[in-house]
Symmetry: C2
Subunit: 317 residues, 2 copies
């Protein structure tokens, strides 16, 4: 039973997990979908009353019947490295690869449909609230008057992107910014804004959830600092305990979203309350592991190498 | 309780359903996501311990608490009609709109995540087979030798696209074509091919499934005709009965895929067996209704106007 890792060639985080799988002696195939077709060969057979299929990568043949789990880490676009790439070739290759993988009875970290759904931040806030997290008051609106009222009610408000940074900028290029009631909200009519009450915090929390295993790390904040991801606070990440309420909420969140892996960001306020800021199904964990020594890569490898099959075989996603 | 129809302005099929909803006196809002922001205003509020939101379209205000169902018919790209459209504005607007709709407790025809999954043709074949349909032997491969062997085994084979027609061509521009063992398969190494045993047919079948209601129509084939969608056969669509085995299989397929609506294409062979060719979650029904008089638009309207809530409120998709 083999683990399939879908990721680009340069991926240090994947390397960490690959090393752990090697230590455990778990067979593993690593594929960048960009290399298909070309370095990799695929065949799926719906011919003899049942389904079978295989992937061949660098001489390793992976049969769909022998597929233990799929880790969708940081895959390239299918057929991106083809001699004559085209949107249509990408679409056909994506269909061929993922259509075959979806047909297999395997465990996913994370299933692409689950991941895609979980990327919707408004839905995420709704699920977080239902799961029992404390969620800062938030609105998403194209109505300037509604934005104005929100800022008047909550005073200190941050504006965020709902979909991530604008294209062409670095992923980390859009820090969360603080606005006040004097701001000009007329531009909101031209594009939706996500506004959230600013939580004055004494620490940032990063919690990594892998199945039922949780790893939490805490970094003390500099007073008045808005976005802990930017700039040096003079503090490092340290291991911290997970409050019971948070552990239950993470469990419900993962069950509800169907995710096997998620990295959560919280703001810890002066009373010690952890406020839910974001659940990132593809969040990094390498920097936390390096700073705290928490065995996150090993836990990912353990999850991927389990033989426990999915109860739902292929549908329902 | 209001029905929301997401579709472009020009959509005759939607017009048919809108007329039926009017007849039933069911409140309805029609929105092209391309008109958001602009003609439409959106606000979602995650502020007061629970979720609320509204859409305002042409003076009609639709509250998320009063949302009965969503019909994802043929929506334009979010923000496509904006004064300054951009991929980022589209991404933000999609997040705002669908994130809000996913947060509501509503019924979907079809939920975008379910629809996206169901578009994967290889997975579709697998689900069709599991559901009890007769599925023609099929392979999807980038290995020329495997393709050659398949054609030698099944003799008459058709090649199809897995993802749909190539871009820039008309949607109907890629007819299914017949190939023989003498063909050159070397090009398959550069791009995956979907090969399927050719089923000599005496008729095409189009079956429309809406919840538990099925409408089947039959069009007699011209001997030797490969693709019934192209050219005039001299025969029209006529109402036909649904065999029990097919009704059970459609039920299982819809439950398994989570689709509320799907249009199925079958080839009826000389023995009367219906061979599953395709299940299209967004398939047209207007032409069938016009030729056969089957009340499909009315059934869609009925499904959308039911007050029965989803058992799963927002998650699991």
């Amino acid at each position: 039973m083999t683990v399939l890792i879908l990721t680009a060639e340069q991926d240090v985080t994947a390397d960490m997990v690959v090393a752990k799988l090697h230590e455990r002696g778990v067979p593993m195939v690593r594929l960048d979908p960009a290399d298909l077709p070309g370095k990799a060969v695929l065949s799926a057979d719906y011919a003899h009353g049942d389904f079978d299929g295989y992937l061949s990568v660098n001489g390793h043949v992976l049969s769909m019947g022998g597929l233990r789990s799929v880790w969708v880490r940081r895959p390239g676009e299918p057929a991106a490295h083809a001699a004559e790439p085209s949107p249509w070739l990408t679409a056909e290759t994506r269909q061929a690869l993922f259509g075959m993988l979806y047909s297999a009875s395997t465990r996913w970290m994370n299933h692409p449909r689950r991941a895609e759904q979980a990327r919707h931040k408004p839905w995420q806030l709704r699920v977080a609230h239902s799961s029992g997290f404390a969620v800062p008051p938030t609105i998403i609106t194209t109505a300037p008057r509604v934005a104005q009222q929100f800022v008047e009610e909550y005073r200190d408000v941050v504006v965020k992107s709902a979909s991530g940074p604008p294209p062409g900028e670095l992923p980390a290029a859009l820090p969360t910014t603080l606005i006040g009631p004097g701001a000009d909200f007329s531009g909101i009519a031209a594009g939706p804004a996500l506004l959230q009450q600013y939580i004055p915090k004494r620490a940032d929390i990063r919690l990594t959830g892998i199945g039922s295993r949780l790893f939490a790390a805490r970094k003390a904040a500099v007073p008045g600092q808005i976005d802990g991801r930017f700039g040096d606070t003079g503090h490092g990440w340290e291991i911290t305990a997970v409050p019971d309420r948070i552990a239950r909420a993470v469990h419900d969140y993962l069950v509800y979203t169907g995710l096997a892996y998620a990295a959560f960001d919280f703001a810890e306020d002066e009373d010690g309350v952890w406020w839910f800021l974001e659940g990132n199904q593809g969040g990094q964990f390498g920097f936390i592991e390096l700073e705290t020594g928490q065995p996150i890569a090993e836990e990912v490898a353990l999850w991927l190498s389990q033989r426990r099959p999915e109860l739902r075989i292929a549908g329902g996603h």
